[in-house]
């Protein structure tokens, strides 16, 4: 009934963040943050540690309710919805600190299919044909996504037995299993080696091109950001300090100050960025 194959690449609606503020007991983690993720683009959100990037993701996925401001996906107002409702609108995310659940890779990926499947307690308990058929179809699609993300050989391996890089990829695959229209990636390559990074970057580029989804990317690896992003928003102490294409942002003095404290060492930063870019 519900075909588990990816939907045709209808452009996702724009994701609009307007005036979002989040306050934690005295600390303003996000201060009047606004940006728009244009349909089908990769939008990077960068900034030093503690800038509020993960907090921003928690607002987008409904885990935190902002003190002020709204987030809209097309006509839907995400800031009013619970996380599971946001998921059913096609917003999927990964976490900075890996948050996988127990069981095998397959179990995790099938959790990603949860929002797309229907089988309830009764149908599953009685193993009604509809539930069995649905499960089989979704399992096949999950396996496809595992292959796509390079987890094909580990499909039935318990997640806890996988090395760090693979577990990180399980999260990416699980998010893709939601067939998202908007994919939120919080430091997807942190802690990975060069080969793993390249592979993850390849996957992100690939799914973006094939499925036409929007990607919001938080990442400290500037090389990756510069290669993948269409647009970049820079946060510092919860405020947007710069915004533009990767090239514009790279030259922005505000950005250099945010990353390096003061204006000194401008040259080093620029060269560091360009060098990473070349690899």
């Amino acid at each position: 009934m519900s075909a588990p194959a990816p939907a045709p690449a209808a452009a996702p609606p724009a994701l609009e963040v307007r005036g979002v503020s989040v306050r934690f007991a005295g600390l303003l983690a996000l201060d009047d943050v606004s940006f728009t993720v244009a349909p089908g683009t990769v939008h990077a959100v960068i900034g030093p540690n503690g800038a509020g990037k993960s907090t921003c993701f928690n607002v987008l996925s409904g885990l935190y309710r902002p003190t002020a401001g709204t987030v809209r996906l097309g006509a839907a107002r995400l800031t009013r919805l619970a996380p599971h409702r946001i998921a059913t609108l096609g917003v999927a995310r990964t976490f900075q600190n890996i948050v996988t659940t127990g069981g095998t890779v397959a179990d995790n990926l099938m959790l990603g299919r949860h929002a797309l499947s229907r089988a309830g307690f009764t149908a599953t308990a009685l193993r009604l044909p509809s539930a069995v058929r649905e499960q089989r179809a979704h399992l096949a699609r999950a396996r496809e996504i595992a292959e796509l993300t390079g987890l094909g050989n580990h499909f039935d391996t318990p997640v806890t037995l996988l090395p760090y890089g693979d577990r990180k990829r399980v999260e990416l695959a699980r998010a893709l299993c939601l067939e998202p229209r908007v994919l939120l990636l919080d430091e997807p390559v942190a802690g990975m080696n060069a080969a793993e990074r390249a592979r993850t970057a390849e996957v992100v580029r690939d799914v973006r091109a094939r499925l036409g989804l929007s990607v919001v990317l938080v990442e400290h690896d500037m090389g990756l950001v510069m290669r993948l992003a269409d647009e970049v928003t820079v946060l510092d102490f919860g405020r947007v300090v710069a915004h533009g294409t990767p090239d514009e942002v790279r030259r922005d003095p505000e950005v250099l100050r945010a990353y390096l404290g003061t204006g000194t060492g401008t040259a080093t930063a620029t060269t560091a960025v360009t060098k990473e870019d070349a690899t």
Partner: protein, 396 residues
């Protein structure tokens, strides 16, 4: 190919244990059948609790309340005073009633998490016990009520009705109920396994491991928490009906906090989150006190019931024993009997099969066997003492 072989092997061992369990009433006397019957009822309840506590990570001390709802629900619905419905209808309604009782609790069960739910459900047991004692017209008060036998299509699961002899063995209440218990236990395993391997089970396990991950992947946290509670209550209700039928009398004192704790012990000993484990734990916790009562005179330090010479009674002694079992399991094998069995099986597979002791790799149903296979030898010493006297250990 190895997949196919393991499938055949698993199907084969399932069939074999099913045959064995079906054959037992021809060899065992009523005492052992009763132990089996209580074990099957407990296993059904334990599987339900395992779903809630093992899979969804929600502690419940209120299981006795739902067992009581099922048991008393059946007695009232099928009995007099009560609507006097056909017993089969009453049994089904009693299960639904237990589910509805679980549903009424869902504002709490959906929001309160883990160990805090345990505290919240504690109140249910005391409330339930109080109601059972005071609502005389429905529950019969302190002395309880006798249980109307289950009848379906003119066939009674009791000693009453036309005599039934199968292959020269007279089929009394125990023999008949044995097959009912087996069928219900099989139904429980079938449905619970289906749930665990399907979408709801995965969502519940995800909730247990990370509420955050589950919710951003689309799991409605509160709804699934309360659904787990309802489903677990329904299994408890089914177990309650079977217990009532086996006891033939329901009394309030049986459904105490200690019973809830017994069920937690079952799933911890068996291994959280596994149907086979919960069943094995249920057999262990159920059979132990009954066996100790029976063999009290041969055991050191254990008083024979009624002797009152200051030693420990068999029921307490068995509580100490499985208390110790829990401690050992928590320290040495936190995944319980099912984890131990799984590891033994894995080791057997890796080594040449000659070295392994036969039957070390137990399956879900072999746990039932083990309770009974030890039994078949012992039953030869023609024990004709009134078996119901043993069961009274449970019904004060």
């Amino acid at each position: 190919m190895s997949d196919l072989r393991s499938l055949v092997r698993r199907r084969g061992s399932l069939l074999l244990s099913a045959l064995l369990l079906c054959a037992l009433p021809f060899y065992l006397d009523a005492f052992w059948l009763r132990i089996g019957l209580f074990s099957m009822a407990a296993a059904i309840g334990a599987v339900g609790l395992g779903l809630l506590s093992g899979t969804a990570g929600q502690l419940s001390l209120g299981h006795a309340f739902f067992l009581a709802t099922g048991a008393y629900g059946y007695v009232w619905l099928a009995g007099e005073p009560g609507p006097g419905l056909p017993p089969a209808v009453a049994a089904v309604l009693a299960v639904l009633l237990a589910g509805a009782a679980g549903g009424l609790f869902s504002p709490v069960a959906g929001r309160v998490k883990g160990i805090y739910l345990g505290v919240a459900t504690l109140a249910l047991v005391f409330l339930g016990h109080h109601v059972l004692l005071t609502a005389d017209s429905v529950t019969g008060g302190f002395n309880g009520r006798s249980v109307p036998p289950l009848e379906a299509g003119g066939f009674a699961f009791a000693d009453s009705g036309p005599r039934l002899t199968v292959l020269g063995v007279p089929f009394g209440a125990e023999e008949r109920l044995w097959y009912l218990g087996l069928a219900l236990f099989a139904l429980t395993c079938f449905t619970a396994r289906g749930l665990l391997r399907g979408r709801p089970g995965r969502a519940l396990a995800a909730l247990r491991d990370s509420e955050t991950a589950a919710s951003v992947m689309g799991v409605h946290v509160a709804r699934y928490r309360s659904a787990a509670f309802v489903v677990s209550s329904m299994y408890a209700g089914l177990a309650g009906v079977l217990l009532a039928l086996s006891f033939r009398r329901v009394v309030p004192d049986y459904f105490s906090l200690a019973l809830s704790v017994d069920y937690l012990a079952m799933i911890v000993i068996g291994g959280l989150g596994s149907v086979a484990g919960a069943s094995a734990g249920a057999v262990f916790v159920t059979a132990l006190p009954l066996l100790m009562t029976r063999y009290a005179d041969q055991l050191p330090l254990v008083a024979t019931p009624g002797s009152g010479d200051g030693a420990i009674g068999p029921t307490e002694a068995s509580r100490y024993l499985y208390g110790a079992a829990i401690v050992v399991i928590l320290l040495r094998a936190p995944d319980g009997l099912s984890g131990l069995a799984g590891r033994a099986r894995a080791r057997l597979r890796r080594r040449p099969p000659v070295t392994g002791p036969p039957g070390a790799a137990s399956d879900s149903e072999s746990s039932e066997e083990s309770g009974a296979s030890g039994a078949s030898g012992a039953s030869d010493d023609s024990d004709d003492s009134d078996p119901s006297a043993r069961a009274k250990e449970h019904t004060p």
